[in-house]
Structure formats: structure tokens, C-alpha cells
Subunit: 404 residues, 2 copies
């Protein structure tokens, strides 16, 4: 029953604030097993595997690993490469040469698909081999998971950003737009809703990729809010699409396409600037600003959910345990069992790979311009402990003398 | 000697993470004095004064004031209005009607100028009156001050952001530009330099408004860095100007002009997008991204320097003490006395008002594309305690089998 050999662990896709927790979970747990001859870390995801660029993490100190665990972004670096069958054959070729018997790939749904194909090839050639996908994505868009490691911390960053933007927008009123990451799923944009504490707090409007973005409705909503409060704070997902599923941002500029056939949405302020322009022109409101939260959402140093940290570590540990003790393949999933407690299970790779989970209907309001309390209830525990909140003055107004 | 009457406190200009510390410092300290009949907070800065929109902060609980103190942005809200003589006459008219004898205005150099004019009018009409300017600006550009309250926390946000951007840029290499606030002074952009820990860490290039921005030199520097490290992280001030002092961003678009005659630089991703485009076109580098840090720099909830917090509180307290005990007018200043200790003094308003401090030459390197160690030494204590740092893996590379 004891499958002896090396472990390879790698990180794929966009970094998160806690992805190194999962890495360290795999490494420390794997190193406890006698049948593990070495623990290798592949540099730059799958491309590090085919180039045999491995760090020998068996020789890394526990103390430095713990420091790396609390460092955001991918300590093994990452890749945007999406391997096809031929590429996965190469991977498998290297694994056989190095007597790698366990492969842990920390990433999103594209990474899960890579794991699936590599595993298939191992089965076809009767090579005893365990391949495990460990979930990670700030987008929170993996099926079979209540939520994904990385989301809680990114959501906390977005929430803390919008608490500040709401206060700023109140101090110097106008229309303010915050553009949040999320190509197809609106979970991260929806996290902005946590900023609302006092009754007239923003974000007043939240636009998600799950609902068609109609410019006329948008302008109507903004104007209505601005008339009511004298200001308007808006959260917009970078992935908002029109009725035909065309991203609003493509109406603007020739966008880059990445190796997965995805259009570049981040790393530009273009969407915020477009919406700002529309509001200025059509509503004749003078002070309109936008912030694109950008890469800070996934890599900012020092804004992290301790719940997210803890779970990210555990999915790494559990992955090693499932594979090495129990000889099971698959994708580790997080399941909510109580209020608030979770459990980890192994799901078939096919049920996670290359699929996208969207916000369920009960998380989005009827008009499609905000979230529901059900969503806030869902998100709350994921933000971790000591979530800061804003406080306002409540002193009474003094009587006027000259203008009464 | 005892000047009996009301206190008015107000906040002007852009919010900061600690401006409410100064407000609470003024309020709590003023409330201790018997000769203070009421402590009023003017809503929306000077415009709240002429409209007699005062909160009676004598009736605010100490406990809520302490909660407000740790809340970023301006709890009394703010204004961009820059009063002229006639406007200041109005202010003074209201002050006399309400028997206001002490005026504390928390703001930048424009606010100092307002205090100066109001004070002049009191002197001209023989109305006994103390007017104090309390420094605040994330730009750190006030004369007579070693540094200003608000700067340390914003600098910490920028540093933590660039620690993350450096890790992200390392994980998924390319050129990454972070655009930082700062119209004329580069102090905040320079704070990005704290992100460098390991020898090849970014930001590799830092562009400040104090040095002319020459596009050809910029492209040369970026290319050189990219060839050397396979990536390049750049910090750019939103206020960078060409040889003739023309902001680079004006070469792009028709920008808004505010009431101070200042051009809108923030709240748009245009500068980052322009520089991105130049690099893509001229250097033929594929992965080029930009982040505009935007309003998060001054209002993000939960990223604060405890040193900055402490000093912001003290300048408020000291202002009340100078005015009410010692009957002195002026602008409170922070003076560095040791390594690291500070003292507070009162400077003449004329020496602070409407003037701008720039980065001294010894803080900028010769080529004008980075900062010096002298600057990092200057900044370090202002960031506060428990500044997080990133840690990388240091395990040795494993031997290749197939490709040796």
C-alpha cells in the first residue's frame, strides 16, 4: 500500500494572499512520511516541471517555510501556461524520470484540468501516481466548494477598501466608482457590500458579471442615488457584460488575449474611466472619480483573513494526507458544515476542472444592482476576525444664529 | 489672560488615515478648559462655517470620539473650497456672532493660508482670537515640518502595496507600473522603495515630480532593467512632469481643473495606461500592466502607522494647549529631535501657508530614477511598528535528470 517516491508541488494562475499557506501545508505534511523520498517545488508552475526547474524543499528550513507561509503571492512563482495533451505528456515524462509519485497543483479551475489530464496519462500507462488539485482563487468560482482559499483575504481587502472609499466619498461628495477583479463571477465585487454600516453608507450600487449591464439602467440608478444622498459609491466588476455577454470593456479598446483565450481585464484603468466619462457626459455630475483596485486585491502585504489563512494551510495538509495515507486522487474541496465550521473532502477532478461557479440567484437583488443579506451572511465568517469598522460622529447640530 | 469663548475645529482638503486623531486631540483637550464654553465641529470645512453647520462636539461621548479617531477620512467631512478675502470675512462674521475665540483648521498648505487670512481679519478688527493650523497631508509637502501627519500611514500603504506588487511581478514576470499620489512632491512615491528586501526586489525604478520625466530615458531604463531581471517594477508619481514642468498626464486628455487651479491627477488610470502603451509599442514587451493606487492611499481602512496615529493625536492636543494656555497663533510643526523622537513647535503661518516642500536632493539618486539610502533612513521610523516583510524560499535547486 505504501507508494514510495517524490512529491512535486506547484502553484498556477494568479497569486493570492494565502496560496503559500497551502504550499507550506503540503511541504510540511509530506515531509512527515517515510515513503516520501524528496519534496520538490516546481518553479513557475507547469513550465518548471517540463524544464526540470525544481527547488528541493526537503532542504528548506521549517522556520523559513513559516515565514513564506505568511507572505502573499506565489513563492514558487506562477505561470499562465495552459497545458494541452502533448504538454501534459512532457510533464508525465519528467515525473517518471524523477520517480515522482505525488503531484500537488495549487490553482484554479484551469490548474484542476491540468491535474486531470496528467492523471489520465498516468492511468493509461499503468504508472502508480497520485495527482491532487488544491483549490486557490480570489474569484471564488470553483464548483463543489463553499468557497475557495484566497477569496476571504481578497474579499477583506475589497471590504476595507470600500469602507475607506465610502468615508472619502462622504467627506468629498460626488460619484465614485471602484472597479473590482472577477471575470465571470461577482463574489469579489460583492464583498464591497460589507462596507455598509450606517444607513446611508455605500456602496449604493453593485454591478456583477452575473447580470447584464445596461448602460441606461446604470445611469438611471446612479442619478437616483445621487439625487437621494448627494453622492454615490459604486462597485463594478471588471467582467461586467452586456445583454449579449460581450464584456463592456471590449467596447473600448483592443484588449490583449492570454494563453487561455481570456481577454485582459486587469492592469488598466480603462473601464473605470469609461464609466466616469459616461456619468459626466450624460448626468452632468462634476465630481466623478474611479479607482481600479487592481493587483493589490490579490497580493497586498498585510491584509489577510485569519480564517482564510487557516483554511489555506489545511487544504494543503489534507491534500498530502489524502494522497499519501489514503491513496486518493482528486480535488480538495471546502464544505461549510456549521455556522461557522468547515470540513474538507475529495471531489472528482472532472467536477471541478475547467468549470466556473457563479453567484447564486439568492445572493443578487431583483434589479441586479446590489447583493442580498443572504450573501452578506455567507461572506461574513470568511473575512476573519478583527474586521475593522468605521465610526461617525453623532453629536447634535448647534443652533444657527445668523441664518435661523 | 483667560480668553473665554467657543472653539471651532474643521478639516480641509483630502482625507488621511489619521486626520480624525488630530480632530479628537483638539476636542478632548479643549473640553478640559473651563474657559471653553463649547467645542463646535464645522461640517465640510470652511463652507460649514459660513453656513453655520456646526456639530456640538461638547455633547459627543469620549468613547465614540475614540472610535472616530481610529476611523480614516474626515469625520467632519471636507471641502475643496479655497476662501478668498471676502469668504474669510464671512467666516469671521460667523465667528463673532457665535463668540468663537479659537479656530483650529486641520489641513494642508491651502488650509494654512485660510487660517492666516482669517487671523489677519481678527487682528484688523481688534477681536481677540486664536487661529491655529494643524498639519495634515499624505503628500508630506509642508515646510517647517520634518514630516506631516497622514504621510506615515499613506507611506505604509504604498510600501505594503509595492511589497505585494513586487511578489506578484516576480511570480508572473513582465513590466508593472504602480502610479502613486503626489502632485509636486515625490515623498509618497518614494515610499515604494521600502518594498525592496532581497537584492533583485523592485521597485527597480522610481520616478518623482522633482525630476523631469524624459520618455526616452524612461524607456531606456525600463528596457535595461527588463533585460537584467526579466521583469521590471516601476513606481511613478501621478505628478511627473516634462522638462518644461508640464504634467505628463496633460499630454493625454483634457483634465478637470479644481477650485485651487489644480489639475485632476487622481481618480483615473490614464497615466498608467499611457506609460503601458509606450512600453508595449516602443520596447515590444508583451506583459505590461499598471495599477493606479488611487484613493485607497489616503482612506484604506486598517493600514495605519502607529507612530503616525500617535503624532496626529499629539498635534491636535498641542494645538489646543498652545492656543488656550499660551495664547499663541500659528501652525503646529513636527520636528525630529532624535532617532527616533519628535517635538512640536509653533511656526508663523506665513512660513507654512501656500508653500510646498519638495524632496531634498540627497533623497534622490543622480540619474533621477530612484531614491537614496538617506531617504529610506528618513522614512523608516514613520512607517510605525510591525511593518510586515516578505520572505522567499531559499532551498537549493534539485539536479536535472533529462536536461543536464
Amino acid at each position: 500500500m505504501m507508494l514510495e517516491g517524490k512529491v512535486v508541488v506547484a502553484q498556477g494562475g494568479g497569486p493570492t494572499a494565502v496560496i503559500n499557506q497551502s504550499l507550506v501545508g503540503v511541504v510540511l505534511e509530506s515531509r512527515k512520511f517515510n515513503q516520501i523520498t524528496k519534496v520538490y517545488g516546481a518553479i513557475n508552475g507547469v513550465s518548471g516541471i517540463i524544464n526540470e526547474d525544481f527547488l528541493d524543499l526537503t532542504q528548506e528550513t521549517t522556520h523559513n517555510l513559516e515565514q513564506v507561509a505568511i507572505t502573499p503571492s506565489s513563492a514558487l512563482f506562477s505561470t499562465r501556461e495552459k497545458p494541452d495533451e502533448a504538454y501534459c505528456k512532457e510533464i508525465f515524462h519528467v515525473f517518471k524520470a524523477h520517480d515522482v509519485r505525488y503531484f500537488f497543483y495549487i490553482g484554479g479551475n484551469d490548474s484542476a484540468d491540468t491535474v486531470r489530464i496528467v492523471n489520465q496519462q498516468a492511468e493509461q500507462s499503468d504508472y502508480e501516481f497520485r495527482a491532487i488539485h488544491i483549490p486557490k482563487t480570489i474569484d471564488n468560482d470553483l464548483l463543489m466548494n463553499d468557497h475557495t482559499p484566497g477569496y476571504g483575504s481578497a474579499a477583506r481587502f475589497v471590504a476595507q477598501a470600500f469602507i475607506g472609499l465610502n468615508l472619502d466619498n462622504r467627506a468629498l461628495p460626488g460619484v465614485h466608482i471602484g472597479v473590482v477583479m472577477g471575470r465571470n463571477a461577482g463574489f469579489l465585487t460583492a464583498a464591497s457590500s460589507i462596507a455598509g454600516k450606517y444607513p446611508d453608507d455605500g456602496p449604493h450600487l453593485i454591478y456583477l458579471p452575473e447580470r447584464p449591464f445596461i448602460m441606461d439602467n446604470f445611469l438611471h440608478d446612479v442619478n437616483e442615488t445621487y439625487q437621494k444622498y448627494g453622492r454615490c459609491l459604486i462597485a463594478v466588476s471588471e467582467g461586467i457584460q452586456d445583454e449579449n455577454g460581450i464584456p463592456i470593456i471590449t467596447k473600448l479598446i483592443n484588449q490583449e488575449i492570454d494563453a487561455h483565450g481570456n481577454m485582459q481585464l486587469s492592469g488598466t484603468g480603462a473601464l473605470g474611466d469609461l464609466l466616469t466619462q459616461q456619468i459626466k457626459q450624460k448626468l452632468n455630475i462634476q465630481r466623478v472619480r474611479s479607482d481600479t483596485l487592481g493587483y493589490l486585491q490579490r497580493s497586498f502585504m498585510g491584509c489577510v483573513s485569519d480564517v482564510d489563512q487557516h483554511e489555506a494551510r489545511e487544504v494543503g495538509e489534507k491534500a498530502a494526507q489524502f494522497a499519501i495515507w489514503h491513496n486518493i486522487d482528486g480535488s480538495i474541496t471546502i464544505n461549510r458544515t456549521g455556522d461557522y465550521s468547515v470540513d474538507y473532502k475529495m471531489a472528482p477532478l472532472l467536477e471541478v476542472a475547467a468549470k466556473t461557479k457563479l453567484m447564486p440567484d439568492n445572493f443578487i437583488n431583483e434589479r441586479g444592482n446590489n447583493v442580498t443579506e443572504a450573501f452578506r451572511y455567507y461572506l461574513n465568517p470568511l473575512l476573519g476576525s478583527n474586521m475593522p469598522t468605521a465610526s461617525m460622529l453623532r453629536a447634535p447640530l448647534a443652533s444657527k444664529i445668523l441664518k435661523r
